[in-house]
Structures are given as C-alpha cells and as structure tokens.
Subunit: 311 residues, 2 copies
Amino acid sequence: MRFEITILGSRAAQPTVEHYQTAQVLNVHEQLYLLDCGEGAQRQIMRYGVHPMQINNVFLSHLHGDHCYGLFPMISTMGLQGRRTPLHIYAPAPIEAIVENHFKYFDAEIGYDVVCHTIDTTKHQLIYENKVLEVWSVPLRHRVACAGFLFREKQPPLNVRKSALDRYGLSIAQIVAAKQGEDITLEDGTTIANEEITYRPYEPRSYAYLSDTAYSAKAARLVKGCDVLFHEATYADADRKRARQTGHSTTLQAAKAAVEAGAKQLVIGHFSNRYDSTEMLQKEAATVFENTIAANEGTRITIPIIRNNEN
Amino acid sequence: MRFEITILGSRAAQPTVEHYQTAQVLNVHEQLYLLDCGEGAQRQIMRYGVHPMQINNVFLSHLHGDHCYGLFPMISTMGLQGRRTPLHIYAPAPIEAIVENHFKYFDAEIGYDVVCHTIDTTKHQLIYENKVLEVWSVPLRHRVACAGFLFREKQPPLNVRKSALDRYGLSIAQIVAAKQGEDITLEDGTTIANEEITYRPYEPRSYAYLSDTAYSAKAARLVKGCDVLFHEATYADADRKRARQTGHSTTLQAAKAAVEAGAKQLVIGHFSNRYDSTEMLQKEAATVFENTIAANEGTRITIPIIRNNEN
C-alpha cells in the first residue's frame, strides 16, 4: 500500500537542459495522481517508470504555463495510445475554456473524455475522494488564482483483533457490527467497548503540495499534521525581496511553513534557475527545519506505512 | 557563411525518453530558422548550443501537435528572457486563431509581438526572403493542410576579379557598374563583357524540408536541384500500407523523392517509434539513394560553401 511521491520537474518558470518545470506523480495504493504538468512531463513520466495510462486524475495548482504546458501533449499521446478511460483535470478557472479551446484545434478524433473540474481557490474544501483517499484544496497566495492540495489517506476500515475473537467467541454478525464501529453485547449481557475488539490496521498518511505561493500562515495551518510537506522555495533568503514581488517563497519561509504545519519532512522545490546548485537552498531551509530535502528530477519520497499492532 | 541544419527532434507522433518530436534549426549566415517545433524543442535548442533568442522566424509545416506543441512554452520563455524582437510564425491556417487563443490565456504581459503569416499550402510560392535567403512553400500530401519548405540561398553579389582591375584599370564608377552586372566600355571604345570582369564568389546552397507527406512527385520536382533533402520516412517499406493510410512515406519513397529531386544528400527522419534502431531504415533508403543519413537528436548537417575561383 504505497504512498509515494516522484518528482518529475523541480524548477520554476524557465527550463534548462537538465531540469524540468513543475510536475510530480503521487502514487497512493497504485492509483496515480499527477500534480502540475510542466512541459515535457510525459517524457519524465516515462523516464521514471510510471505508466501514463494509470493516471486518471490531474491536479493543476494554477494556470501559468510552467505548470500546465505539458498537459496538452500528454492528452494527445494518451489518445494515440488508445486511451478510453476519462481523464479528470482539477484546476482553477478558466481550465474548462482552455481545454475546450485545445479540442477546437487539436485531438479532434480522441477516444476518451477529458473532464474538467473547476476549483474554487478561495476555499479549503474536499475536491476529490475515492475509497482510500481525500484531496482537499488549500488557498494559496500567488499572482493568479492558485490552490495547493492536501492528499490524505482515509482511515482504513477497522480490523477485529484475533485475541478478541478467541476470548469472546464472536458471531459473524457481531464481527460485522464491530468492524462498523459498534460496541458488542455478549450473551451474558456484558458490553464490550469497540476499541477493545478492533484496531485500525495502519495510520492514515498525508502529503501537502503547496506551490506556487508566498508564505501563508493560513495554508500551513490548513495542512497541519501532514507527513510530508512540499513547499515551493523559488528563492534563497537573500532574494526575499524578489520572492515578495513575484508571489513566491524563500527557503526560510518554506521551512517556517513546515514548522507551523508540524510536518515530519519538508521537500522544497520550484527553484529559480539562477541557482546552479540546490545544496545551498537545502542547507538554508534546514537551519529552520532540519528534515528538509531538495527536490530534483527523479527524487522519490516514500511515506512508510505505520502498521498498528493488533494486540 | 554557414548553412547548417541541426536536428532537435527526429521522431513522429509519440515521444520516447530518448527521442523528441519534429524540430530542426537551420542556420544560414548566423540567422536561425526553426522548422517545426515539437514538445521540448526549447530544451533541445539549449542542449545543442543554439541561442533561442537568435530565432526570429519559425516555419511550421502543419498544425498537428507533434509539430507545434513546443511553440507555446518557447514563446513564454522568450518573454521571460526579455525578448523585444518580434517572432514571426509561418504556418497553415488556423495558426492565427491558435496563437490568438494562446494569448487569451497565457503570456498576457509579454514584451514582444508574435506575428503570424498564414501559408497557402496549395501553392508553391515565396513566403519569406531577406538579403541572402528565400523560403518557398511546397505543397505536400498529408491528412491536413501541410507545406514543405525550400530554403534557397540567393545568388551572392558579383565580385570584380583582381586580374580585371589590373588589366583594364577600372574606375570606381566602372567597378560599381560591373558589380551590378553591366558590361563595361573602356576609354578606347572596347566593350568588355561583364562575365570577363566579375564572378559569383560562391554557389547558392539549398535545403528542402518535406515533412509530413505521402510520396509526392510534384513536391520532388519543386525542390529539384536542392543540395540536401530532408524527407520524412515514418515507416519502413514493410509498413507501406500503414504509411499510405496515414499520409506518410516509407524509406523507399523518401529515397525515390531524393532521386527525382536530384538531391546531393538525403536526410530521413520523423520515424515511428515502432522502430528501435534507425540503422535499418537508413540502409533501406540507401538501397535506392546511396547518400542517405538518418536524422537523430543532435545530428548536424553542414552544406559546405563552394567558392568560385576568381580567375
């Protein structure tokens, strides 16, 4: 039951020969979610061994080109490869008009639907869910409407402890009831609290993706308790004036957000290409939040599952 | 005085980790012309040491995504890098509507003009010229409106032979007249034919770019005498049925076009990614036209200047 982030592109607006613009793939229990989609994301998806056809949901933080130019070529390639499954895009307005326009001029004969879901970037709300995952929008502070995303594993269904089965000799009906969280009344009239019979097999994990944004205490609060926080750090602290002017964050601001959010790990990225090496940026952030890593193309972050003991 | 082609992308519709979709840069006397612009062309431009800001003219054969998706990210990057010089795009309709739409949603604050020139793909006509170069459209046979391009160096201005200067003691006025192609009358009344006094310093060179197209005898005829012919060869001969169905050419058809055109060299490319190696494709074409090379990312073809002896 994987919960794993793969960085496809780690840089800000201008690409370089070595580095790509923002894109990430999140794997939650073998379902893939694409977070932003800079130019060439489909090549990076192939490079890092992800099968693009397994991507059914794309989350775009905002509609600056460096976060979405890769979407249209990927839509075409999926069409050429015979995709039939709908592709869902979650993004701020005017995503619907942009996608509509694409189909006015390209991919006329495509064999699947691209379904747009417009996000209200002013609201923190549930924008997607399935059996195991919830995705929440997080209002960010950028030059255009922009949302972060909080990916949160749902509480797994309750398991019944073997020891309880043995001790109380539960019937099938009682087991079903216990799994649904009910207390159980035994034949002798004793009531056994649900906690005594059941346990959560593992702790839900979470990943917060905050890019692009100026420092936002509110956003940090909204993702409180996340296991891993990705926070953009376009600039070093020395360039904080430029960060403020452009609606971006510095290394220290990203680290401050990680402290505020109580994250276990911070991943910084979306680096301006004025910096040749990311080591200095990582070190700078680590002065405030020690467990910081710098995103690079191919960086893979696995959030380990913490299984609860049934006894 | 360079005349040099650099292959940025050599493959057809679907990119792979290693290979890019169609894009080439032509350098004529240090002016750069971009021919088609598949996704990631800007990265390839940087990789092969071409300065994107030196590109002022882009020629798009047709508006399938694999030939133009790279244009929009490149437009953005040029804007971020402070471009002020207009960028001219030569392409079939509806290029103007597509570019207009781009600016409706992206690059609102860009500091330069993107000027679209719609090509009539049914006509062989001069679509661009400057002091040293002419570009002619070449009607092609594809599934959508599609044009090839013939890049032809203009005749260089006449030079006056040193020997003639010495022998006839020409005045400045006579030299100017001779350079304009006039015969010269000496003081003794003798008329000297212009050919005796002047010579062309070098032979004009030419490059024909024919992609995407089914075999077209007419197109081959229109580029007759070109030094280098790029002809798409999406398929091997064994897949000629698929070539016919999709409006593409095979290796043997590309070679046939080179024979018809009397080209000195054939470059094949736009390969389907069903072929792992291009060697087999090159060998197949070479059975019909010996001087064939297969395009690959980074392939550079220099057409050497042939200088005329002044004596």
